[in-house]
Amino acid sequence: MLGAILSGDFPRSRVLTVVLLAIFVGLAITPFAIPGAAAINTAAKICYFIVLVVSYDLLLGYTGIVSFAHAMFFGIGGYGVGLSLYALGPTWPVILLGLAIGLVVAIVLALLIGLLSLRVKAIFFAMITLAVASAFAILATQFNEFTGGEDGRSFRVPEMLRPGYRLFDGEVFGTAITGRLLTYYLVFVSAVLLFLVALRIVNSPFGRVLQAIRENPMRAEALGYRVVYYRTMANCLAAAMAVCAGAMSALWLRYTGPDTTLSFAIMLDILLMVVIGGMGTMYGAVVGATLFIVAQNYLQRLMGIAAAATEGIPILPKLLHPDRWLLFLGVLFVLSVYFFPTGIIGKLRGSNKA
């Protein structure tokens, strides 16, 4: 039963199992266990970033191609749902319509980019996705009468998902069942389902072919698999999942803008999460995303305290300034690529395969 749900891909490590269960249970009960908006915001962010990072791992970790356009697809999802709700009013069919538009646009774009660059070299793909993504981000901010430009767009969500909505009058465990809570669980359940879908994909024969391509594209080709077809498929699948993540973020934030979805900073975040968590394992993406976002929220505070404590020493306070947290994650990132390419998961599983 559990094997069927997890597609036979168990964590294979006691510590990892505990960590994953802790993440799952933690995300499931956050709205009831920890009061306040900060905790539930962090939890929701973790949920949609898990989907985003998992879909990126499908590309980077399983297929072995580096894309810098993943934040773009995330943004297409966010803008698709966001702009539809903004333009057509807050109803459920509009959300589905927005999601559908986002999916179509993203898959067409992914296909075009893939066909243009995946047949040549992996390195072309990295550069071309980078160029296309920055052009897209600029276009999105330029057409400001349509997209809201730099400011982005705030919009209203259907009645049921608004903070003012009450499912019933009473309280459960001392917490009122508001629309916000329903939105959270919508995001949470979608994240769990999409994660299981991704797990299914990578453990299917299709996923095995992707891994074969990652290990040795020539050999995969020689065995009769059309490498370009598989790479393009993986690119489209990952793009589609990123669109779903974008839609989730739009519903949760009730806002969509360049800084929360399209920017290169988000792309770097995704990259760091995948590599620090562990490339080529879906569970790594989960751990990486969770750790990164928790660190983003709490490490900065810690660094602020450390910076204040080291005041007077020449360079240290500047190094420990809360805005410099990316410096340490960057160093950690480089070290993980060198010394443990399978990331945290690789360490936990104790495997030696690179």
């Binding site: 040549v120 071309i128 300034h321 410099r324 480089v334």
Partner: protein, 339 residues
Amino acid sequence: MTSAPATTASDAIPKVRLDLLPILLPVAIAAVAYPLVGNLTTWLTLTIAALAMGMMIFVIASGLTLVFGLMDVLNFGHGAFIAIGAYLAMTVLIPLSGWTQADSLALNLLALLLAVVVAAIGTGLLGWAFERVIVKPVYGQHLKQILVTMGGLIVAEQLIHVIWGGDQKPMTLPTALRGAFTIGDFALEKFRLLAVAVGLAVFAGMMIVLNRTRLGLLIRAGVENSEMVEALGYRIRRLFVGVFMAGSALAGLGGVLWALYRETLTASIGGDVMVLVFIVIIVGGLGSVGGCFLGAILVAMTANYVAFLAPKVALASNILLMVAVLMWRPQGLYPVAKR
């Protein structure tokens, strides 16, 4: 020894036919743009601006493309050298503000030259460290190269914040380079002229080194087949490091020019140019210096004309240019043999 007249090397090697078709492209673009712009002065100004921008991009991109050609390393951290070069120049120019504000061309240029030299040496040394620490362990592994050099870029950008602070810095042009020469109602900005001159000098210098010297011969041979060069007893590793340092120094030089052109400076300055640089080296053909030169002019022309005609889609038009070139020649304008 036979007494037969020795065939000189140039006779023995068949001359490579110079491929002129891509060279006509910028001319064609300029010709198409003229009726669209419609005004001779505007068109001339745009074209000169495009040439200046193209030269700056070329200076930055040439190092990157050569490093790729020789070592099969694509350095995503190249942008860091652009930013660091610009910051180093700023650090030199601030105490020299007496010289840069003086009303003397010689003193202005001297200050600028000093700044450029410091920037180039600084980024060259940094390039050496970058090669040793970041790139060396991952030769031959493309995926890891992309990731690690990207990581290097993140760290370098953060260190710039630590050392110079994160706020936007002004980068003032020396007095003598401000303003423009006017010929009739056509204005020719002095700094653009300087940029074109520097770019042409770098291009000429690279061409001479690559085609007329022993070092250049080795580099070209290394691009074609590095194992063979190594088998002949040359230390290709040392050549690698040298080219990497030169490429980084060029990026630093380009960064100084670019920052002076924009007249402001932020830590993310490298990232903005890198997108254009990547388009340029893809269009030109990875590893080809000539292609890079032509690609830079093409990209800058498209960017400038489109920015005038339809400002919102300037970068997107460059993507279209790249797509069009790749449809025509999938390996870029001047494909390098091995790849």
